[in-house]
């Protein structure tokens, strides 16, 4: 009984622990295994060395995909954080229509990309959307044709992704802002700290854990960005906007090349590991003040 009570916290975590162990780490191990086989349409389990990885690294398309991931990931995370934080702070200023605005900022998350992709495609298409519209107003030289320029197309993906996710980041930050003790903010006000600094030096550091949440959410969205690309550019022009996730999907499901897909998944996981683990370490390392 006493034992039971002392171990309640651990018992509460136990199911999650088991689930994560099997359904995340078990599956990663499975993927690692498959990446060493010649699996095609369906998994096979005879080991066959690192051939899949050699092929992967030889593929120019994979190069493009990884490069895109860096560009897209960095821009998407940074811009979404900035916009999300800004909107949260602005909304926190006792804004009249807060409820309405909040919902407007959030709703992009609600819509399935299957079709917002189409809407974005039109908006960004130079011949149909914004460019055409602005030219229609008489600004003949106005150009906004990123969608069709292979070297710029990835940025349109950033725009659409930011559009979709920044509202949610705003919500996360807003929740964080509202958990900060108001007395502390008052103290800062009296201390003569300008509002800007109150946020930057006092409130935001207090919300550090919320930043971790936002980072994980955004990094996860960036790395798994899939529907978005499929809907907006389908990887095009050419494969200029391919991302590892779309590459992997194409390999696994369009091309029946599971081994290759598994290899690309493993590389993705390693990249994530390299980026996320140091961050996690710095956030979670036991601190003296905890």
């Amino acid at each position: 009984m006493e034992w039971l009570e002392r171990n309640v916290p651990k018992l509460v975590l136990a199911p999650s622990f088991v689930a994560i162990l099997i359904f995340v780490y078990g599956f990663i191990a499975w993927t690692a295994w498959v990446s060493l086989t010649r699996s095609k349409l369906m998994p096979r389990y005879e080991l066959d060395g690192f051939g899949q990885y050699t092929r992967l690294f030889a593929s120019p398309r994979w190069d493009v995909a990884m490069n895109n991931l860096y560009i897209f990931g960095a821009l998407f995370i940074i811009i979404s954080m900035l916009i999300g934080l800004m909107l949260a702070i602005f909304l926190d200023q006792k804004i009249r229509a807060e409820g309405v605005l909040r919902t407007i900022y959030l709703y992009p998350m609600a819509l399935s990309l299957i079709v917002t992709g189409t809407a974005w495609k039109w908006i960004l298409n130079p011949g149909l959307g914004i460019q055409e519209m602005v030219r229609g107003w008489g600004f003949e030289s106005f150009a906004f044709d990123w969608l069709i320029r292979p070297e710029m197309a990835i940025y349109t993906i950033v725009i659409a992704a930011v559009w979709q996710a920044s509202g949610f980041v705003m919500a996360l930050f807003l929740a964080g802002l509202r958990s900060v003790d108001t007395e502390i903010i008052r103290a800062a006000q009296v201390d003569g700290i300008p509002t800007r600094r109150i946020y930057s030096a006092i409130i935001i550091p207090t919300m550090a854990p919320i930043f971790l949440s936002a980072f994980i959410v955004l990094a996860h969205l960036a790395i798994k960005a899939f529907d978005l690309v499929i809907a907006l550019t389908n990887g095009g022009p050419g494969y200029a906007t391919d991302l590892p996730a779309t590459y992997m999907y194409a390999m696994a499901f369009s091309r029946g090349d599971l081994g290759q897909a598994a290899a690309s998944a493993m590389i993705m996981m390693m990249v994530i590991f390299a980026i996320v683990v140091p961050y996690l370490y710095s956030e979670l390392r036991p601190r003296r003040d905890q």
């Binding site: 349409l41 398309r61 298409n125 130079p126 149909l128 969608l147 369009s254 029946g256």
Partner: protein
């Protein structure tokens, strides 16, 4: 009582109505039909679902599968043998031999074809063409000349959507323009010689030229929006399979009056055959369902109604085409003719010629070429390399 659970990706509008015909017939024969539609990505989503179903141990009774994927699946999991149905109904007699090959696994019938799409069509806006006095081009040079003319006149010559399968479609029609043999060697047999040949370089050169006939905003455009451009007179041509016809017809346009359909330059017929494959399933009623389904699919009735709806032509050669439009009739004639002289060829762009990995490798190179300023030499080299790598 026969039952069937049918996994397919014909979901919207005309497609769905077409399947519904089959369903009705199936029900009329006393069967129970469970529909499992999964659209998206040209069947990718359905394939994803299929794999999950197979791994979970409950494969659907019938799956819309086509091309070499049928044989691939057969190798992985085995497929049901529907030879008895085929024998009984004399499929061998009514199917062009080449199509019939696609329906066999290890010499056994394991799939039933529904239709034949012709991929290598040029669709033209009749009014524009008449205005500029353009007639059907029979070579790519002629096509180029016509396009130049149009371009000079300020008309976009070619409506195109920059999605990789559309790029691949144009590519394969150009390859076909170099002769059926070359097509066979390059895109069916994957002969490295052919892939690296000067002819192939010529193909890429032509592709580069065609790229010049496309408007600036083609990237990511859906094929039907490209069709709409032709329809609305914003562009003169589109190279697209015969499903484009559906768009014209839906907008109330008449073949030969508002728009024309010509085969792409060169001699040949690229086909895209939809078919159903049958997985190994447990249970008498399901196996019965498979047989019934196979029979119905190949039934002349169904073949006719279905293809009227879908814009394609029946896979059976013995179906009367009176009710079909002129484009379909021409398609049918060409199919028979080309079957004779060996230029009836599987479309690589639509997964009829190659397995996924190889087709994908080629498409990667093609689409990258089309959307960059890569030289034809590089493209040929990359093509050969990619194909080689994909065969590992």
């Amino acid at each position: 009582e026969p039952t069937a659970e049918v996994l397919h990706w014909w979901t919207s509008g005309g497609e769905a109505k077409s399947v519904a015909v089959l369903q009705d017939q199936f029900k009329a024969e006393g069967g129970t039909w469970t529909d499992m539609p999964v659209a998206g990505g040209g069947g990718d989503a359905a394939m994803t679902a299929l794999r999950a179903r197979v791994l979970a141990g409950n494969a659907p009774t019938a799956v819309q599968l086509k091309g070499p994927a049928i044989q691939e699946w057969y190798e992985e999991t085995g497929l049901a043998d529907i030879g008895s149905v085929a024998e009984e109904n004399g499929w061998a007699d009514v199917l062009p031999a080449q199509l019939a090959e696609h329906m066999k696994c290890d010499g056994q019938w394991c799939a039933a074809p529904v239709n034949v799409h012709r991929v290598n069509w040029i669709w033209g806006n009749k009014q524009i063409l008449d205005e500029h006095g353009i007639t059907q081009p029979t070579t790519w040079e002629e096509f180029n000349a016509a396009a130049e003319k149009l371009k000079e006149a300020g008309v976009t010559p070619l409506a195109h959507g920059g999605q990789n399968w559309q790029d691949a479609t144009i590519f394969e029609t150009v390859v076909l323009g170099q002769g059926a043999d070359f097509y066979q060697k390059a895109l069916v047999d994957l002969d490295p010689e052919a892939l690296k040949s000067d002819t192939m370089k010529g193909v890429f050169d032509e592709l580069r030229t065609l790229r010049g006939y496309v408007d600036d905003n083609f990237s990511g455009r859906d094929w039907n929006l490209a069709t709409a451009m032709v329809m609305n007179g914003e562009a003169a041509f589109q190279i697209m399979g015969d499903w484009a016809k559906g768009e014209f017809l839906a907008a109330g346009k008449q073949p030969g009056v508002d728009f024309v359909c010509w085969p792409t330059p060169g001699n040949g017929f690229l086909y895209n055959v939809d078919s159903f494959a049958f997985f190994n399933v447990e249970g008498e009623d399901k196996q019965q369902g498979q047989k019934l389904l196979a029979k119905l699919i190949m039934g002349p009735d169904f073949q006719k109604t279905f293809n009227l709806n879908k814009g394609s032509i029946p896979a059976r050669t013995d179906v009367a085409l009176d009710e079909f439009d002129d484009c379909a009739k021409q398609s049918n004639q060409d199919m028979s003719a080309d079957a004779e002289d060996g230029s009836l060829l599987p479309s690589y762009a639509h997964g009829m010629a190659l397995r996924g990995a190889q087709a994908g490798a080629i498409t990667d190179v093609v689409t990258n070429f089309f959307n960059s300023d890569m030289s034809s030499e590089d493209a040929v080299q990359q093509l050969a390399d990619a194909v080689a790598a994909s065969q590992m």
